[in-house]
Symmetry: C2
Subunit: 480 residues, 2 copies
């Protein structure tokens, strides 16, 4: 465990290619694509193998910060101050640069390990060895990338040619090389040639370097960007209002750390790694992570299939029936279904662009929405009403609130509800119900040791989530 | 309008090939595949163009009779006695034979027009001409089939070769011929040859004949079947308990009128018809009925598609997103989705067989269930609770009932509810709610001139539909 090593986890980006499992407000780091835990939690656990918890930083954008923070709640005490907010995504160079300045304020001799949150890695031991060896190279001033041995002619990754004439350093079976050449994402023909030549590695997007080395190189190759980032960092440090530095951040050039820095730097080095690695890029490449049947199908959920081959089925609850599909992706969620050939999985992001333009609710969020106190699921919404199932965690409560234009009817299904209605407080058990008239101050809490589940029927001429006045909220500062 | 002509509409069969739009309790005649009305109602309207309402008979099975009768409710006074019940489907020969005996009891000189309820026909004038001409041939003793000019090498239909040397009779552009040969459903190679020869027609499955001619031919070619049918008809006539003739009916040989009779009879005749006809057989052949986009896609519902071709999309409510599909069928309903290539659309019935074997609820019925008083839609069911939206038609009411193991909570969304709870009767308006404890006699009615909509939350250790005691029901006799 290296106390001067800091893990910077990149958790911005919407992961539009994973629609309908991902949504604008439920981004890719929140997906469970492999294993029990979400990608962001897997990434934090990986970081915790090599750095202490208080050295883990998460970079995310304001829009997704709340859901990301919910994911980190069990590390809350250590990570509370370590969320770096991008007002909006400007690609990786500004995000990493801002994190570097933040870390340098705390430790002038800091080394940074940069980890995207959409990688699935198996082989903890090999991972720790690679990070430890990379940190040693970094301490000598190198900007170190981790290179993956290609297993196919992938067009979705950049390629790196190491200068294999003599390694910079070795350790056991690991060696670090100067980078001879970075190759941008190639077309298929070129990818085949690179693969065949045997001399190239995939660029994993994971890096390790001294924070001051990074800043020196930014000063050389991206001086304008660095200057803006320094100004923004000072504004954040001095607690200036968010909207001021937000405005500045949005004006930054959107550039990746690869294009903006690595390809230009003479200090770039690469370590071919030995752990198994997968970039969770689209529905088209997940099958290697998941159990397949004899015909090469992955079937998750309530799937009834006849005769399909090499297809990927994912259903959260509803039944999916299929006959004779080949190399297809079928993803079913409570409010939306996707059907597309694996070969077109990259183009799901185009579909999402169309949905965003239309203002489709299926673009923005799931019918189930997580909250600090639990979650709610919209069962149906129609003209003048909305029906929700609400789950409240033991000991938690929603804000003290009021709605102008809707009444609410609650029926307890499981657990005990503590209801506040104006000055009255009372408890309801399973099968009991109550009514909250509109323009009535109220609060729902779970005083019990088990989860509380209620069905809420809202009635009114307007049932939007924004018809709410909050008087007190355990989970945020009251701003009104 | 011929007062001695009787239309026999065949409305048995589940239409498993149309799952998930069709269900065991929501069979094919209830689908809206073309036009505003269901197939069964389109068929009744077609029959009403050529026979008076009291001459329309509908053959269906006991399991589907209730939903079929709901479809016929606006012709209730005329059709009330005209539903012929098959205890279960034994193919067309028993069904048509039983209808013939029923009609003969009423009119010894009856002519029968047999109409399947899964045909879409355009051209009312041509249809009436063909029926009128067919009835003339029938009066002379012929068993007349209507032949369709083939438009492709279809393998799903039988073929008929007319004896074109001399017509039996002509009328304007119509001519009737003796049948030279019936050809069973051919394979693709044979279908191509039949199409190329130019001398064959598709067997539409529509017939016209004198009821006594049919019975004479049954006596010749299916004497055992006829004998059983006569016994059953007598049992029905004398009002014997249903289970007695049910048992007999189930033992009948399942045989089609084509194989059992037409291919054997020397009295078979065929009229090549001039109206446009489509047998609604599977998802794979519906595109001709529906508007297509420039790339040959049919898109019904909330579909967002990129680059698909010749595909069929049908969604009832949820969003379906698709990219780059070719010749595919995607059908989405609230609780189940089907994805299959058009070429495999026939095999959807195999999928349904699997679902039935598993006892999957998605095989049996939709989340929305029609009732004489309106309908209900299950929004969610979980351990210990169920949430429904209930719609009650103006002036209608549910049965006076009681549940042993669940309480019910009602919130009115639209309209006025008249609630009976034991001895109390009260009314609720929009936004008002009430609770019905378990083991409490209650009734929900709609006294108003507009539909009533409520949300019902059921709570109890068992929330199955069969936990109900009915004391009085406007829509059926009380049997308890």
């Amino acid at each position: 465990m290296n106390r001067r090593l800091y893990a910077i986890i990149l958790a911005g980006g919407s992961g539009a290619r994973f629609w309908p499992a991902s949504r604008e407000r439920f981004p890719k780091p929140l997906l469970h694509v492999a294993g029990e835990e979400t990608l962001i939690r897997q990434t934090v656990r990986r970081a915790l193998k090599v750095v202490p918890a208080q050295n883990v930083y998460v970079v995310t954008n304001t829009f997704q910060a709340e859901t990301i923070k919910l994911q980190l709640s069990n590390w809350q005490s250590e990570l509370a101050g370590n969320v770096v907010l991008e007002p909006e995504g400007r690609n990786t160079a500004p995000a990493i640069g801002l994190a570097a300045l933040r870390v340098l304020r705390r430790d002038a001799g800091a080394t940074m390990l940069v980890l995207p949150s959409d990688h699935v890695i198996t082989g903890d031991g090999k991972f720790k060895q690679a990070v430890s060896f990379g940190s040693r190279l970094a301490r000598q001033g190198a900007l170190v990338t981790f290179g993956i041995r290609p297993t196919g002619p992938e067009t979705g990754y950049g390629y790196i040619q190491p200068d294999r004439r003599s390694p910079l350093q070795t350790s056991g079976t690991l060696a670090g090389y100067k980078v001879r050449r970075f190759v941008e994402k190639p077309d298929l023909k070129k990818a085949r040639r690179l693969l065949k030549s045997g001399g190239y590695l995939w660029n994993s997007g994971m890096f390790v370097w001294r924070a001051d080395s990074l800043v020196e190189e930014l000063a050389l190759h991206q001086p304008a960007l660095l200057k803006s980032l320094r100004t923004i960092d000072k504004m954040v440090e001095s607690g200036e209002p968010a909207d001021r530095f937000h405005k500045r951040y949005k004006r930054l050039k959107a550039v990746s750390i690869d294009d903006g820095l690595m390809v230009r730097s003479t200090r770039a080095a690469v370590i071919p790694v030995e752990f198994s690695w997968l970039d969770v890029g689209s529905w088209g490449n997940l099958e290697t992570l998941l159990p397949q049947d004899q015909r090469g199908n992955v079937k998750i959920g309530n799937i009834v299939d006849i005769d399909s081959r090499n297809s990927f089925f994912f259903a959260t609850k509803r039944l999916v029936g299929s006959v004779g599909l080949s190399d297809m992706v079928v993803v079913d969620t409570p409010d939306a279904t996707l059907v597309c050939p694996k070969s077109r999985a990259q183009d799901v992001k185009v579909l999402v662009r169309i949905l965003r333009r239309r203002g489709a609710p299926e673009y923005l969020e799931h019918t189930k929405v997580d909250r600090p106190w639990g979650s709610y699921t919209v069962l149906e919404e129609g003209k003048g009403y909305k029906v929700k199932r609400i789950s409240v965690l033991p000991g938690r409560r929603l804000s003290l609130q009021m709605h102008d234009r809707r009444s609410e009817h609650w029926v307890v299904i499981v657990g005990t509800a503590r209801v506040t209605r104006e000055e009255t407080v009372y408890e309801l058990g399973p099968g009991e119900s109550t009514e909250i008239p509109r323009q009535t101050r109220h609060r729902l809490g779970n005083p019990g040791p088990l989860p509380l589940e209620i069905i809420e029927v809202q009635y009114g001429d307007y049932v939007g989530e924004d018809d709410i006045v909050r008087y007190q909220d355990d989970d945020r500062l009251v701003t009104s």
